[in-house]
Amino acid sequence: MGETLLFLGFAGVGTTLLLAFLWVPSVSFNAFESPAAQRIFYWHVPAAWAAFIAFGALFVGSAGWLFKRSETMWRLHVAASEAGLATGLMTVWSGCVWGAAEWGTPWDWTDVRLNTFGLLTLLAAYLVLGRGSQPDGVESRDTFAAFGMYGFVLVPTTYIATWIWTIRHPPPLIASEDAGSIDLDMRLVLYLGAISFTTFIIGHMLSSMRLTALEQRLAAMQSTQDGGV
């Protein structure tokens, strides 16, 4: 199931990119400093959408471990932090390239939403790298799950920030009325991208959860061989 979704999502993302580069009409020269770079939008916005999904799953997984001690929820935490790091990096990296072309600077320190999204990605990096540095146990799980829940506070902060602070960065498009104001072809590719990234990220998380389960099974077998229970 996970692998199938991963494959379908991957194919959808590839199709989105092809359509974005070859089929979607170009934006007006008057509206954008760099109309060619605007095509990064079809990667940048769906990746940000997928990152929100991953961070939402991170919250659910973290809370599920902390309050229910559920192994499945811990696996979800692991998968969502990896997915959050991957999609966060996709969003930040593509945003930097677009920003450099459009604004003349890759990063705007005065823009709260850029900073909070960057911090979300750093938090995911902290969770992934930090978990790798520690032996698995209730101590490390509790600590990282607590940080995973804290990170979720940054998700609505980022989303609200995109409405409140509009210095350079345009407001959110997916799941908003503003999406209706863009050209139909552009909207079609944007939604294809969003669906593809969503499928991709869910497939990624399911596969990752299965991988973690296998790793846990292996660790349990090693423990039995060591004479433990």
């Binding site: 900073n115 750093l122 902290y126 930090g130 698995d136 660790a219």
Partner: protein
């Protein structure tokens, strides 16, 4: 009947991936010495550290008297009693002097007694003013044991004494002296819980708990011996902040980490020459506040220092708090902002100086909080805490923008 000083109710504790204690209950009354016995890894230390409130509980709760000091929902309250603690590690910093550590252990309870007879009994009188770092392993262990017992000797009311292998590394004469003190404390109505493998200490038990088989065996009634007189007096309570400031000033660790980062940042800015005139007000303030931010971003150096001999956990077990730099970051931030204002802008604005102090204070303690939150991990120094510090850039940018 004597009052229950400690009550564990249906306690479950996990360590790593295993359940070390499950469904454990234990009651310790004043005038009882409960000795925990069992093989290595059976859970003696886990039970003691749970009773100290150092370990989170999966189930159950721990009472000190009528107060729930820890429960499975993560609630924590300070103990209503004076608590004396000896961990497996010595729980003290090498930069403390012997007498300072002993006085501090008593002052945390708000009482003090003369330490001279105790040092004499352990043949440590000549070491009273030495740094802990200069002691041998055995001598340091004796000081750790005294730091666990003295609060009870000084306390006018029944106290709780939790000792984890206090006899480890002590010579025969010292173990005998320790046994006499334990008996004296028990006779005075204090409650003691001791994890040990030493038969001489087990002889002090009124109740023997076999951790592996979960059995409690009451031993024959012991006659109370007439307690010796240890006159005590009330003293001002030692706070974690004032101890932290003392350690900062003695070891200069603020200079080694935080101040060096601030100085380097200021030095780099000065090396850029007179660039400030071409900047707007927000950018100028950002540069003026940058050294204070850099000093704060290094966090609380005491967090790393307190890993020595588990000193931080000893503080948490005794007082529920850990030493910190208190007001030092505010002064440091103020001074750095003053230096940056003069050298970069050639002007002084009191509001900017105060904000610099506040910025360093908030960032220092914020990073310190994040550092402390990872201390429970098996390898806290390997956990990439630095990746979380950029979260402080946002308030810094907002402060600069608001000031401008």
């Amino acid at each position: 009947m004597a009052k229950a000083l400690l009550r564990l109710e249906d306690v479950e504790v996990r360590r790593g991936m295993g359940v070390v204690l499950s469904g454990r209950s234990l009651t310790v009354l004043g005038g009882q010495t409960v000795v925990l016995s069992g093989a290595n890894g059976s859970g003696k230390t886990t039970l003691l550290e749970a009773a100290m409130g150092l370990l989170p509980l999966e189930k159950g709760c721990i009472h000190h008297g009528d107060v729930v000091v820890a429960d499975h929902e993560g609630r924590r309250r300070p103990s209503p009693f004076v608590v004396g603690v000896v961990l497996q590690k010595n729980g003290m910093l090498g930069s403390e002097t012997v007498s300072q550590h002993l006085q501090c252990s008593m002052a945390m309870a708000g009482f003090s007694t003369d330490i001279a007879p105790f040092l004499k009994a352990f043949n440590l009188t000549h070491r009273a003013n030495d740094l802990v770092a200069h002691l041998s392993q055995g001598q340091a262990r004796k000081i750790a044991v005294l730091a666990g017992l003295l609060p009870a000797f000084a306390s006018p009311s029944p106290s709780l004494v939790l000792l984890d292998e206090p006899d480890a590394g002590l010579d025969d004469a010292s173990v005998k002296t320790l046994g006499d003190w334990l008996e004296e404390l028990r006779s005075s109505g204090h409650g003691l819980v001791i994890a040990t493998h030493d038969d001489r200490i087990k002889q002090q038990a009124t109740h023997l708990v076999d951790i592996e088989h979960d059995t409690v065996t009451p031993l024959e009634n012991r006659e109370n011996r007439a307690p010796q007189q240890h006159p005590s007096k009330a003293v001002p309570t030692q706070s974690a902040g004032s101890f932290g400031v003392k350690m900062h000033l003695r070891t200069m660790m603020w200079l080694n980490t935080n101040a060096m980062a601030g100085l380097l940042t200021l030095g780099i800015l000065l090396s850029l020459g007179s660039f400030m005139n071409g900047l707007d007000r927000t950018q100028q303030l950002s540069f003026v506040l940058a050294p204070a931010l850099a000093a704060g971003l290094c966090g609380e150096p005491l967090v790393a220092a307190l890993r020595e001999e588990r000193a931080g956990e000893w503080w948490r077990a005794v007082s529920r708090k850990e030493p910190h730099g208190a007001w030092i970051p505010a002064v440091l931030g103020f001074v750095f902002t003053l230096m940056a204002s003069v050298s970069l802008q050639n002007q002084l604005e009191p509001v900017v100086l105060l904000v610099g102090g506040l910025l360093c204070f908030v960032v220092w303690h914020g990073v310190g909080w994040v550092q402390r939150s990872t201390q429970r991990l098996a390898r806290p120094q390997a956990v990439f805490v630095g990746l979380l510090t950029p979260v402080l850039i946002l308030p810094y940018a907002l402060i600069a923008g608001t000031l401008a």
